[in-house]
């Protein structure tokens, strides 16, 4: 029974994918859209059943479908593990996934390849479910690669634009670099412990003595994989470019699925990461630096989706900071709340872009509040949540991260706090530029301004409600989430933070910081009505930030161009040389055969002559041999 249910949960989106890819065109736009949505909703329903069950009895469901790999000292099942962690993830993967599907029915309605879009979207969800449900690292890896593939398909969905194709390739290739790290980590673990099963690994690592050195290397390699998927320094540049895809895709990738895979994997293997303090420090530092760097870039971006993209990178950085500090449940908490408000923000920006017929530059927006009340309100709620204003979900999760950081390292805390203040600033900069003051677009756009249809606003409202109240799952002092996750996290949960003086002080600092950030944004962009300058007028530090610290250019100069040069060298010289040799052999054989062809002149006389000559030579030879 449980196996069947789990298979329904897993295979429903796959069925949606298959039906859509083969019959989508025949189903029509609405048909394929609702089919795609329903298949994810079905998964969500099953997830809910499992979730309620596990919430009640706390027993993880483990399903082994069949023996997958069987060697003398290594055995691997193709199996699934539905424990607290995976079910929590499944809840928002399928839940928010469903909302995004619903939204896409309306958003993608004018696209001629809508059925293909839904097929890819379903496939994406299917792989994400595989990733989350897998009971061992290899099954997880299938999902891991699958979401990479789907992100490539979806980011490059509008493949007629070469820039979008490049963005898709960039995402794919950067993820491959990370995946190499992940694979190395998996191999080391497999070779060392003869198992890749999560539960098996947990027992093996916590009970056997093993070289710290190799554990650290494995953990680091796995973290590189996480960096690729979750867009951490140095592998983060693909994520902002991934904005090329349709907006629902950005929402899906950024909020619910792909980028959280890295967090998931680290949390899943928390018993491994706990073994190596050095790697944990590296993770925390990388996370904090990423959070800060991405936040500074976010300050000056003018593309509405790019701002959100950098904010995702920054928030992921905060999550990794928490992971590095061993506060896995805090990171998971932020993943959940972030999923709510970031999905809402992305879908909201999609609603704006929809209303403006594809305009993404905030310099050409403004004053949309008047026309798009629901979008504005939901966006407002989510912005408050991500800025960490009290009582909204983001406040609780971010505050916990800051608190954990404060208790372990003041520098990290300062970095994280600065990043959150910047977050508040750029989110409200975005809000004011988009929704307040006068409309700055063309008259024609103004004429067409309208609130988006119900299929778009409904998910927004649901997500905004979740973004507002999502914090209840882990309130300070009485955390449901911490209790819920306790069985999967090896070390004792960081303890409930006592609400002492320090905690209140930290809270106050965070809130005041956020308010200051919002205040600056208010005075600059609302009161003074400033509009960011045109690209040509940007200079100084502003330009450095606007050009994202020239990291892409740096990668171009340091990595891409040398590799290209090497490739050109191989193409022009090595390959030319090799093919000359190979071609030479071909020519020689051809030349020889050309000569040999002459013997076959078809004249019976010649053949007979050859035959007689041969007979004569043989006889002569035999005669001479007999003489000597």
């Amino acid at each position: 029974m449980e196996t069947t249910l789990a298979l329904v949960l897993l295979l429903a989106p796959l069925a949606g994918f298959l039906l859509n890819i083969f019959f989508g065109k025949a189903l029509g736009k609405n048909g394929s859209g609702y089919l795609g949505t329903l298949s994810v909703v079905a998964s969500f329903a099953v997830t809910l059943v499992f979730f309620l069950q596990i919430n009640q009895d706390g027993k993880a469901v483990s399903i082994a479908l069949f023996d997958w790999i069987q060697l003398s000292n290594f055995k691997l099942d193709f199996g699934f593990l539905l424990d607290q962690l995976s079910l929590l993830w499944l809840m928002f993967v399928t839940g928010i996934g469903s909302l995004i599907h619903l939204y896409s029915i309306s958003y993608m309605h004018d696209d001629e390849n809508m059925h293909k879009f839904f097929a890819y979207l379903n496939l994406f969800v299917f792989f994400m479910i595989t990733l989350v449900m897998g009971s061992n690292l290899l099954v997880m890896f299938i999902g891991w690669e699958g979401v990479g593939l789907c992100s490539y398909l979806l980011i490059g969905f509008w493949y007629k634009n070469q820039d979008y194709n490049d963005a898709a390739k960039k995402a794919f290739i950067m993820n491959r670099i990370g995946d190499l790290g992940l694979l190395i980590g998996i191999f080391i673990l497999g070779a060392s412990f003869s198992t890749l099963d999560f539960l098996g690994l947990k027992t093996a690592i916590t009970t056997t003595e093993f070289s710290d050195y190799w554990i650290a290397i494995a953990a680091l390699a796995l973290f590189i994989g996480a960096c690729g998927k979750s867009a951490q320094i140095p592998l983060y540049t693909w994520l902002p470019d991934a904005m090329a895809g349709p907006t629902p895709v950005s929402a899906l990738i950024h909020a619910a699925t792909m980028v959280t895979a890295g967090i998931f994997m680290v949390t899943r293997l928390n018993f491994l990461f706990d073994q190596s303090a050095l790697v944990q420090t590296i993770i925390a530092v990388v996370g904090a630096v990423t959070a800060l760097v991405a936040a500074t870039i976010g300050l000056v971006q003018n593309d509405i989706k790019k701002v959100l993209a950098y904010s995702t990178v920054s928030q992921l950085g905060l999550m990794f900071l928490a992971l590095g500090l061993g506060a896995y449940e805090v990171a998971v908490f932020h993943v959940v709340t972030h999923a709510f408000f970031k999905a809402c923000l992305f879908l909201g920006s999609g609603s704006v872009i929809h209303a403006l017929h594809g305009e993404q530059d905030m310099r050409n927006m403004g004053g949309l509040k008047k026309w798009m009340k629901i979008t504005y309100l939901t966006f407002m709620v989510s912005s408050l949540a991500i800025s960490g204003i009290p009582l909204f979900s983001g406040f609780f999760s971010k505050d916990e991260i800051l608190m954990v950081a404060f208790h372990s390292d003041k520098t990290l805390w300062v970095m994280a706090s600065l990043a959150s203040i910047m977050t508040a600033f750029y989110m409200f900069r975005l809000l004011y530029l988009t929704f307040f003051n006068e409309f700055r677009g063309t008259e024609e756009q103004k004429h067409h301004l309208h609130e988006s249809p119900g299929l778009i606003t409904f998910p927004l409202i649901v997500l905004a409600i979740l973004a507002a109240v999502g914090g209840v799952i882990s309130l300070p002092g009485n955390s449901w989430l911490n209790h819920f996750l306790a069985p999967v996290i090896a070390k004792e949960a960081h303890g409930e933070h006592h609400l002492d003086g320090t905690a209140y002080m930290l809270m106050a600092i965070a809130v005041v910081g956020a308010v200051i950030g919002i205040g600056i944004a208010f005075s600059k962009y609302k009161k003074n009505g400033e509009v960011p300058p045109a690209d040509a007028e940007i200079n100084g530090l502003h330009k450095v930030l606007y050009q994202k610290y020239y990291v892409d250019e740096l990668y171009m100069a340091l990595i891409v161009n040398p590799i290209n040069a090497l490739a050109r060298f191989f193409r022009d010289y090595v390959e030319t040389g090799l093919s000359a040799v190979v071609y030479g052999f071909g020519r020689a054989a051809s030349e020889l055969s050309h000569q040999g062809r002459r013997l076959q002149n078809g004249s019976v006389g010649t053949y007979l002559f050859a035959f007689v000559l041969g007979a004569f030579l043989i006889v002569t030879y035999v005669f001479l041999m007999s003489q000597s």
Binding site: R597, L599, Q600, N601, G602, S603, V604, G605, L608, F609, V612
Partner: protein, 106 residues
């Protein structure tokens, strides 16, 4: 009673056989008519048969004669097939000059 070999020396058989064989070879090499070529091949075969019989008698051993039967049977079969081919070539091309038969050129 003297055998034929005691009356005529074995070398004479070899000489005759060689002459016959060479005649066959020259016929094969110089004639253009396929039937003549065929006949020349028969002469070569017969030269060898003669030699086989002569040696067989000389050695008082019947093996050689058995071989002759085989080679004669094979030669007969070969002529049957070969002539059939020649007839069909003649029907198609109107000639059996072997210089014209170059269809199998490589």
């Amino acid at each position: 009673m003297q055998t034929v070999l005691e009356q005529i020396d074995i070398q004479n058989y070899i000489y005759l056989s060689t002459i016959l064989f060479c005649t066959g070879v020259f016929g094969v090499l110089y004639r253009r008519n396929a039937i003549i070529v065929f006949m020349s091949i028969e002469i070569m075969l017969n030269a060898v048969n003669l030699l086989l019989v002569a040696f067989s008698t000389f050695h008082q051993d019947a093996q050689g004669q058995v071989f002759v039967f085989f080679s004669m049977a094979v030669a007969a079969a070969e002529v049957a097939v070969g002539l059939a081919i020649l007839v069909s070539i003649f029907r198609n091309l109107g000639s059996i000059d072997i210089d014209n038969l170059k269809k199998l050129k490589g």
